[in-house]
Amino acid sequence: MSPSPFAPTAHERHKEAVTARAHAVTLAATVALSLVVVALFVTLVVRAAPALSGALLWENPADKGKAGGLWAPLIGTVWLVVLSVLLVTPVGVAAAIYLNEYARPGPTTRVISLAVTSLAGVPSIVHALFGLGAFVLFAGLGASLQAAACTIAVMNLPVVIASAREALGSVPHAFREACWNLGASRWHTLRTVVLPNSLGGILTGVIFAVSRAAGETAPILFTGAVFFRAIPDGVPARLAPYGLDDPFMALAMHLHVIATQVSQMPPERTYATAVVLVTLVLLINSVAVVSRLRLRKHRKW
């Protein structure tokens, strides 16, 4: 009896085997990655459990962080993030618009793009020293909230520019041409068609950049973050306890110091601080993820 004409050939069997192996390897990598994240978070929460409470969030630290809560560093980080976003967004988005919509391709544009990419590769400790030299000393801002926010903003600039360029680039070129053919200027086209349809993507990129900034220690180490600073009590004062030119407390800095320099620190408090920091970052990220999902649902083409 002859073999069925539809039986797989050796080549087809080989292709199937290769496909199956590729599937398995990529799946394994994905599972391993997820396991790391879950293991990290579960370990943190389990070890931090004895110290976790509402008071941990609301009370101010006392006795070098061995008592009290995390309110002062938490609100410091929030303000740091808010200020650096306000600084980096207009500059980064404007630069992205220039590079993507106006600049003619040529040596100058290539050099600028290269500079932006290189800025992204600069280690954060170098950014910290740059911030110390440029903002704290040269610009005379002093070690303060504003100097730290400027430093974080510079560090995030390339990330914001890259994601904003990507968002602008995702608007089809045909839309721009259609507008130009109708007698719209470059700027009018940007304002009426390109920006409204890329704003969501730009904001998502900004939020991701921000969440990274919230966890950075090095750039604020020399530029304004301190381990302890008494802040006023009472509700309105607690929400904005630091002036722009005051040194401030921040979660990442707090964690760095209690983990390495405070003796007889109860370990569950260190873990609890880490949990609060990671949760804050995840919360900011989830805002970006949700906004990206909503965006996909409301795609207009």
Binding site: A174, N181, L182, G183, W301
Partner: protein, 250 residues
């Protein structure tokens, strides 16, 4: 009578590569001029010179002149105004990501028309002219990108007509739409000819024969022959023209 539109030794090159080589011809007012020729013969580059959207192509270099009513377009200060006088419809339908109404009101708004009543009149007139009104009048708030391909192509036409251009350029307007819609748009063009000069770049030789008063034949960036539609199809002077229009090539 001077020509409405004239190209004088018009050349375009992209980074040293010639796309259009010293092309000269005239188009009389209120006539249809078909530009025919195979791919890469320079049809689209020529059209882009007419409303100066070629300015947006960074690598393009243009020499020679396009004259509109005797004035060189390169000398015009108001380029945006030129683009409203010379309307353009592309090969592929492009509904802008906004409502049908906003699509058609885009050009009048960017010119500064704000009054709702005035815009309503313009939108309805343009959509009626493009034979789209009956299909969309009850859903003007629908996204332009949600219309069918043929409807989007007529929307593109309506957008161009909203500016009441004196010259209307169409670049292969029928390649993405069905024959029925194509015939309807051809009727529209016949109608528009009473007020508008129409330049039609097309791959379809029969379409040129149906519509055009004058035919310009381009090949490999050069103008091969130009003449009225009857003499071009019946008594072409150049062998290549007779072979191309007669269907021996392509």
């Amino acid at each position: 009578m001077t020509a409405h539109l004239e190209c004088r030794k018009l050349s375009v090159s992209y980074g040293g590569v010639r796309a259009l080589d010293e092309v000269s011809f005239e188009v009389p007012r209120r006539s249809i001029c078909a530009i025919v020729g195979p791919a890469n013969s320079g049809k689209s580059s020529l059209l882009k010179c007419l409303n100066r959207t070629i300015d947006f192509v960074d690598t393009a270099k243009v020499t020679g002149e396009v004259l509109l009513d005797g004035t060189a377009v390169s000398k015009l200060r108001d380029v945006l105004g030129l683009r409203r006088r010379v309307g353009m419809v592309f090969p592929l339908p492009v509904g802008l990501p906004m409502s049908v109404y906003d699509n058609v009101a885009y050009a009048p708004r960017s010119r500064g028309v704000r009054a709702k009543a005035e815009l309503d009149v313009i939108v309805e007139r343009a959509l009626r002219q493009a034979m789209l009104w009956d299909e969309v009048k009850d859903r003007l708030a629908l996204l332009g990108t949600r219309l069918s391909g043929g409807q989007q192509q007529r929307l593109t036409l309506a957008r161009a007509l909203s500016m009441e251009p004196e010259v209307l350029c169409l670049d292969e307007f029928s390649i993405a739409i069905d024959p029925v819609t194509t015939m309807r748009i051809e009727e529209v063009l016949h109608e528009l000819k009473r007020t508008t000069t129409i330049i039609l770049a097309t791959n379809l030789v029969q379409q040129a024969r149906r519509l055009a008063d004058q035919v310009v034949f381009l090949n490999a960036a050069k103008l091969v022959e130009v003449g009225d539609v009857v003499s071009m199809f019946e008594r072409p002077r150049v062998m290549l023209t007779s072979r191309y229009l007669g269907g021996a090539i392509g």
